[in-house]
């Protein structure tokens, strides 16, 4: 019995130590995905897109610069502890960049990954002030952050109000968490500038019951409602908005509140709902033909393949594309195929994607140009507004990609990153 | 028996006195104007048919029930409103009709819990253990071991009480009450459900406790033989009222008692 116990202990220890299998390929892009839990439906789509694009590269191009790509997937269930465990278990396998897909996990990983020298790409989420590359050397949140999003939405609202928001009432319905609170300060700053009246309505996780908030909105009759939601909160909010017959074209969500999942349950009534986005919608791009041919039809699709072309799928794919481009940049810069995480970081910092490159990638006009630099990890900060067409069951871009109000945002970023630097005794890098 | 003469010499002044106790639950009167006393060193029995209010009386004495009327005097002082544990601290220990042992604990721990009122070390020293806490614990363990020895329950010292047979549990419960080293011991049907041999044992223990430690005992018992043998004085309750009070012989010949007991065949 003793021997049995020892054997069992050894096996247990062995299995505990076994992380996801060390990739045979040389370029490792771990996926901290979540396909279960309250946010599983959204996480699944993103993860499918992220995985499929890399599969496409492997199948079509033989990887990046001839080196195969591996995407070990680790389920976090949107749970910070599991996120940390996933990070620790995969970082040893030569991970190049992390895409945590959770603001909570991103916060968790910022100091750790920086200490480990592995870059994080929190694309359109995470810590907004990470855009300041001088302070956050290993964190990137290009092509846009929450404050950009807030600013772009305000800009759009201003546009539809003939350029004048003075005296208008804007209500923010937000997920009562770090993520949801992110835009508040920006919106308050912008309120000062534009003279609108901002009221805040928090919704607690998970957000199934929002009757109070929407009755409040109904009573207040705001001109516009903005939403920073995620998961079931989005669906319920849109549904409640339709219930109180709030005009959908005056209801704008951030890019995490603008997927098919969010509008479908409300059915036709959701028609006209808007959301900001930093990339194109739909599957009308050449790259999808490749994905169909090399990935889906080859039976190599992640998940069940039903999500191709959805907003979150596209976003996952876009994230993978940016990672792949950064890796290629790094390969070129350091003149090596087998790059390290540090080189990857350099690649990300020098990432440049112009319209031509996008076209070459089979994604013409899919996203604005990107030009990352040492000081600016936040990308162009451009966004467009997409609108839901319930009849066609598809999103449509209704504006060009436009910029955010740097005048307001940059000082905020400087302030917040300076606070972080002070708290953690970080010297600003010299980026000149 | 010459023993009764010896015993008479042992009995001292009044230790506890209840005066005009009336207790009711939502209109139902459990006790009506009950008065009696318990003298130091005596064995006092409370008897009566089922539902006579015997247990309620004990509950009043141990502070679990608060009577609507009446007073309880203990050690010559009138007792104010008190929580049961404060009563226990004054030196009144008891056993229960339906065994109320701490089932998850061993015999030893049950007895040690009985000494709760005597233990003093504060939380800090207990957390450190080494030092005052351990010293106190061991001192009390020694006292408890003497009770274990007294009751002859060495073999079940570390057995969880839930696993013990009924008779043993009764004995452990007596041990827990003894551990408190109380001045007054209230025994609620200590021999209920026991066989003859166990009853004899228990009688011996009750007498020994009274003898060796000089503990005053008030007990409720159904077995008339036992009551008459054991007790110095008997108070008889029926339907919450006092029927009689006196020595076993007096009570035995009291007509009201005879009627009550003939009326209700005792079990």
């Amino acid at each position: 019995m003793k021997f049995k116990a020892i054997t069992a202990a050894l096996v247990t220890a062995g299995v505990l130590a076994t992380s996801a299998p060390a990739a045979l390929a040389d370029l490792v892009f771990p996926m901290l995905s979540y396909r279960t839990g309250p946010y599983g439906p959204n996480g699944t789509e993103f993860a499918d897109g992220y995985a499929d694009y890399f599969t496409l590269l492997n199948e079509r191009d033989g990887g990046i610069g001839g080196v195969k790509v591996a995407t070990p997937e680790c389920e976090t269930a949107y749970n910070t502890q599991k996120g940390v465990e996933c990070y620790e278990s995969t970082k040893g396998d030569g991970a190049l960049v992390y895409q945590p897909l959770s603001t909570g996990i991103t916060y968790q990983l910022i100091p750790k990954a920086t200490a480990d020298g592995i870059p994080i790409h929190s694309m359109g989420y995470g810590r907004t002030s990470a855009a300041n590359g001088k302070v956050f050397s290993h964190v990137f949140n290009y092509p846009g952050n929450y404050w950009d999003a807030a600013s772009i939405i305000v800009k759009h609202l201003s546009d539809v109000s003939d350029g004048d928001l003075k005296g208008k009432k804007i209500t923010l319905v937000y997920h009562n968490s770090a993520y949801g609170k992110e835009p508040i300060r920006t919106l308050e700053e912008l309120a000062k500038k534009h003279g609108y009246e901002l009221s805040l309505l928090p919704v607690d996780h998970p957000g199934q019951e929002q009757k109070s908030q929407w009755l409040q909105i109904r009573r207040d009759r705001p001109d516009f409602v903005m939403m920073w939601g995620w998961g079931v909160m989005n669906q319920v909010a849109i549904k409640e908005a339709t219930n109180i017959r709030f005009p959908m074209d005056k209801f704008v969500g951030v890019w995490w509140s603008g997927s098919e999942n969010d509008v479908m349950p409300a059915g036709d009534a959701a028609n006209g709902y808007k959301a900001v986005t930093f990339h194109g919608v739909g599957d009308d791009y050449p790259v999808f033909a490749d994905i169909k041919k090399h990935v889906q039809d080859a039976g190599k699709a992640a998940g069940d393949g039903s999500n191709v072309g959805s907003v979150l799928y596209n976003r996952g794919m876009y994230a993978a594309m940016l990672a792949a481009e950064a890796a290629a940049t790094a390969q070129k810069m350091h003149d090596t195929q087998e790059i390290t995480a540090a080189q990857m970081r350099d690649g990300m910092e020098n990432l440049k994607i112009d319209a031509a490159r996008l076209e070459a990638l089979g994604l013409p006009g899919f996203a604005p140009e990107i030009n990352v630099s040492c000081a600016d990890h936040g990308g162009p900060g451009l966004g467009a507004i997409q609108q839901w067409d319930a009849k066609a069951k598809e999103w449509k871009l209704i504006t060009e990609f436009t910029g955010s109000d740097r005048e307001v945002i940059d000082p905020l970023i400087a302030e917040d990153s300076a606070a972080f630097a002070a708290e953690n005794k970080i010297e600003e890098r010299d980026c000149s | 028996m010459s023993a009764s003469a010896d015993r008479a010499a042992k009995i001292g002044d009044t230790m506890l006195e209840v005066k005009d106790i009336t207790l009711s639950f939502g209109g139902v009167k459990a006790l009506t104007d009950i008065s009696f006393d318990i003298k130091e060193g005596e064995i006092r029995a409370i008897i009566g048919p089922n539902g006579a209010g015997k247990s309620s009386m004990l509950n009043v004495i141990s502070g679990f029930y608060h009577p609507q009327q009446g007073e309880v005097w203990f050690n010559g002082k009138k007792r104010g409103p008190m929580k049961p544990y404060q009563v226990a601290r004054q030196g009144i220990a008891r056993t229960f009709q339906n065994i109320a042992l701490f089932k998850g604990m061993s015999t030893l721990d049950n007895l040690m819990t009985g000494r709760m009122t005597q233990m003093k070390t504060n939380l800090f020293w207990q957390a450190i253990w080494k030092g005052p806490a351990e010293k106190e614990e061991l001192e009390h363990r020694e006292r408890v071991e003497h009770i274990i020895d007294f009751l002859g329950i060495q073999a079940i010292r570390k057995t969880p009480v839930g696993r013990l047979p009924y008779g043993m549990q009764k004995r452990v419960e007596l041990g827990r009450a003894l551990a408190a080293e109380a001045k007054l011991l209230l025994l609620d049907e200590p021999m209920a459900g026991m066989n003859l041999e166990e009853k004899e044992d228990m009688c011996r223990f009750v007498l020994d406790v009274n003898d060796e430690f000089g503990t005053t005992i008030a007990l409720i018992e159904h077995d008339m033989g036992v009551v008459m043998d054991l007790s110095d004085r008997v108070v008889v309750l029926d339907y919450g009222q006092k029927l009689a009070d006196g020595t076993p012989d007096e009570v035995r010949s009291n007509q009201a008692v005879i009627d009550a007991y003939l009326g209700v065949s005792h079990d």
């Binding site: - | 010896d6 030893l108 363990r141 020694e142 071991e145 003497h146 274990i148 020895d149 007294f150 060495q154 073999a155 010292r157 020994d208 003898d211 060796e212």
Partner: protein, 649 residues
């Protein structure tokens, strides 16, 4: 340093210096093993001795010691000896009348009683024991209200003693110095299979020299731990727990109570252990029964490794060469079975164990030895201060009892009776010159009363009580015990009494072993309400018949004993019981009494009836008497024709 003190008090003083704070005695009380070092024990004993002196205990006075093995009672022995007095230990379970005889015969002045029970008995016989003047008790429980006239609390006596010592600080030492080796040390009353108990007078030299010799023989040291659980009045306990303990300086452990002996044994884990064969047999029975409840796999494993042990265990114990594979297998077995088994039995630390008093079944003996427990046999009796023969390490046999112990001479007389002469030979029987002369001749040779011979291996072999060895009508030898022992080695048989002297053939009474048979019944769904019913059960008879026939076939193979095959037997309806006088307190069969009591049954065995009615008087545990009656079946057993030995010689 060799300890040359010649009395126990002197040994005590020497030990208190030499071993000082080493434990001398322990008792499980109040949940833990209360321990006294030699120094503490000396002080306790001296306080008691002084107290006794203060109470007027004088040289030559006798102190009866009545009770279970408890430190204070052992101290009483030594305290009495300090003052030149003589301790008289009495069997604690003897009834008042037995006790009265001993106390009266020994002219006891002081009594040291364990508790209320013993005090009650003492008080009961007080009027018939005019010599008895003072009673000291150990346990105060229940004695509070007793008349304090002649009763004294042990602690109070010690207190008195301490005061006395202040007054006369040198008195005790002077008294101790007066003692010599040739002084009478103790009276040990033998239970005796017949008649009244005899008081065996032992000198200090008897005990001390014998102890010293036996200690040297087995290389015992002060590091031994021993559990004292056998009656203090028995010579064995006196030697093991007192004589050897004082001489070697090892620690004596007193169990909490009779009921907890097994647990206490397990806790203490003695290194030196004595038990009569019956106890070893009981242990084996328990092991077998408990293993029957184990799962299939575990049983298989257990049996496999027990086979391994049977094959190689004894060789392993005696350090003989074994193949690597056997060694490894045994070691594995030791890990999986033997060591845990020894642990549960409390034998993990046993270096040396003795058994004596009766023949031990070879299987039982080998079982323990094969587990690696060094069990040895010795042969002895009260009159010899135990040791007559002992088995040296490496020369252990089940059927012989060893070579003469150091300084012991042995001869076999013409009646096949074993005789010996040694320093341990008793002084005399107290107040019984005649018996002394009968037992010990002028040259100091003592008749053991046992028939025996020296076997080929040079060791003594005991067949039976010399007087019990009889003859069948055809003149062939009838050794009842030999046959009985063969039967008793079956676990389900507890006791056997055979008959055959001056008869044509052999018949037997059998007592079932309630534990073993009861367990079997439970397992086989045989319902029974009482011992009697179980004993009379057809299936049980069948089982016994098998055993009897097997013994018969064994006996048939032995030319000397082939006539002893059992022709008819019956199963007794009650257990033979010391309380009914059927057994001695040491559980030896009292043949004569049984033959008288059950003459109807014996007659029936030698007729051809199929059953027989019998009514027997019994004594219950509380001393009440009653009668039980039954009609017993009588069973014929198959016998075998003797096998003619064809040895190619």
């Amino acid at each position: 340093m060799e300890n040359k003190a010649n009395t126990f008090p002197k040994l005590l003083i020497a030990n208190a210096q030499r071993f000082a704070n080493r434990p001398a005695i322990r008792e499980k009380e109040f949940g833990v093993w209360q321990t006294w070092s030699w120094v503490q024990m000396r002080d306790e004993i001296f306080a008691l001795a002084n107290g006794l002196a203060a109470m007027g205990f004088k040289r030559g006075d006798k102190l009866a010691i009545i009770g279970a093995n408890r430190p204070r009672l052992y101290w009483g022995m030594c305290a009495a000896q300090c003052l030149g007095g003589i301790p008289v230990p009495v069997y604690q379970d003897s009834v008042a009348s037995e006790m009265q005889y001993v106390l009266d015969h020994a002219e006891v002045r002081f009594v040291l009683a364990e508790d209320q029970e013993q005090v009650d008995k003492s008080l009961e016989i007080r009027e018939n024991c005019p010599s008895m003047q003072q009673i000291i008790y150990d346990d105060t429980r229940g004695l509070r209200d007793y008349d304090a006239g002649i009763l004294h609390d042990f602690a109070a006596v010690q207190e008195k003693g301490r005061a006395f010592a202040k007054d006369k600080p040198d008195y005790l030492q002077q008294e101790i110095d007066k003692g010599t080796g040739s002084d009478v040390g103790i009276y040990l009353y033998t239970s005796g299979t017949t008649g009244k108990p005899k008081g065996v007078v032992m000198t200090n030299d008897n005990i001390i020299i014998t102890s010293r010799n036996s200690i040297a023989f087995d290389k015992l040291t002060e590091h031994e731990e021993i559990l004292s659980y056998l009656p203090m009045a028995w010579v064995g306990d006196h030697i093991f727990s007192y004589g050897q303990a004082y001489v070697a300086g090892f620690c004596v452990n007193c169990p909490e109570s009779e009921a907890t002996v097994h647990t206490d044994l397990r806790e203490i884990g003695p290194t030196y252990y004595f038990a009569p064969p019956r106890l070893f047999e009981n242990i084996l029975t328990t092991v077998t029964i408990r293993m029957q409840d184990a799962g299939k796999l575990k049983q298989k494993m257990f049996n496999y490794f027990m086979d391994v042990a049977r094959k190689t265990g004894i060789d392993m114990l005696e350090g003989r060469a074994l193949s690597f594979k056997d060694k490894m297998l045994y070691k594995l077995g030791n890990f999986l079975v033997y060591a845990p088994l020894k642990n549960t039995m409390g034998f993990s630390r046993v270096r040396l164990a003795y058994t004596a008093g009766e023949a031990i079944g070879p299987e039982i003996f080998d079982f323990f030895r094969s587990l690696g427990i060094n069990v040895k046999q010795l042969y002895g009796q009260t009159e010899s201060s135990v040791f007559i023969t002992m088995q040296p390490d490496g020369e252990i046999y089940a059927d012989t009892v060893g070579v003469p112990a150091p300084e012991v001479e042995i001869k076999i007389n013409d009646d096949r009776e074993v005789m010996y002469r040694s320093p341990g030979v008793f002084h005399s029987y107290y107040k019984n010159e005649e018996a002394t002369r009968e037992t010990k001749n002028a040259e100091g040779w003592v008749y053991t009363g046992d028939a025996g011979f020296f076997a080929d291996n040079g060791q003594l072999k005991i067949i039976d009580r010399a007087k019990d060895v009889g003859k069948f009508n055809d003149g062939s030898m009838f050794a009842p015990k030999y046959i009985e022992n063969k039967l008793k080695f079956f676990p389900h048989i507890r006791e056997v009494v055979t008959f055959g002297d001056a008869k044509d053939h052999c018949t037997a009474f059998i007592n079932i072993d309630l534990e073993a048979v009861g367990n079997w019944a439970e397992r086989n769904n045989v319902p029974y309400a009482s011992y009697q019913e179980l004993a009379g059960h057809v299936e049980v008879y069948k089982m016994m018949l098998e055993s009897v026939e097997q013994v018969n076939s064994d006996l048939a193979a032995d030319p000397m004993l082939s006539n002893s095959q059992i022709h008819r037997f019956l199963i007794l309806h009650k257990e033979l019981d010391p309380d009914d006088g059927e057994l001695t307190r040491t559980r030896k069969v009292r043949r004569r009494i049984i033959a008288e009591k059950y003459d109807v049954l014996i007659a029936a065995l030698y007729s051809d009836v199929k059953d027989c009615y019998v009514k027997t008087e019994v004594t219950f545990e509380d001393g009440r008497k009653g009668a039980i009656e039954a009609t017993l079946n009588i069973q014929d057993a198959k016998t075998f024709t003797p096998v003619v030995q064809q040895e190619a010689a």
